[in-house]
Amino acid sequence: MLVLTRRPGESVMIGDDVVVTVLEVRGDVVRIGIRAPRDVQVHREEVYRELRQANQEAASPNEEAVRDLARLLQPPASES
């Protein structure tokens, strides 16, 4: 891992178009500003990981489960 020392107001460039700026350091909390192209996702790591896991769990459910769910969702009138 690359380790850099920065002061508040100073930045780090990642590639040509991502700028990470240290805005404020207070105790054990660091506020960071990130400027990135719109198609680059920027998330807190734990949010990204939770979302990725949720997507992976949702992906490609088996046919039986899909059929069961479709049956459950049928309007009562059409069940008879």
């Binding site: 949720a54 997507n55 949702a58 490609s60 459950l72 969702l73």
Partner: protein, 144 residues
Amino acid sequence: MSAPLTETTPSVSSPETDELPIIELVRPMPGFPGHRRFVLVRLDDAGLLYTFTSADAPELRFLVIPPLPFFPNYAPEVDSETLELLGVDDPDRLLVLLVVTVGGSAREATANLMAPILVDQVNRRAVQAVLTGSGLPVRAPLGC
């Protein structure tokens, strides 16, 4: 600036349709970086259940639902950056879909309210928005 989304009826093809319109993700879904082209297929007559299937790798598919029948009060606020990313100036053009996780059994199915898939029904660009800070759940029971 943000705009509330209103519910619209999905305008998609039926499963019988041979040529389904391609929906292009402007940003891949987290966890699936290689997949950008999808098709939306309706699974039932009532329009409650759809699959969002990779056009290039059909074995990858997600079950998706329109929010309204399941979560009538769901009104995600979409920020202006997301609208710009999609090239949309009118939020009413967006179709909102929730990704469903079936898990062990259908009765335990949940929907991801924090990260809805937004589809522009005109230019067919889409994105899985991440409503950070909304407090919306990633796994909300469908309650069926």
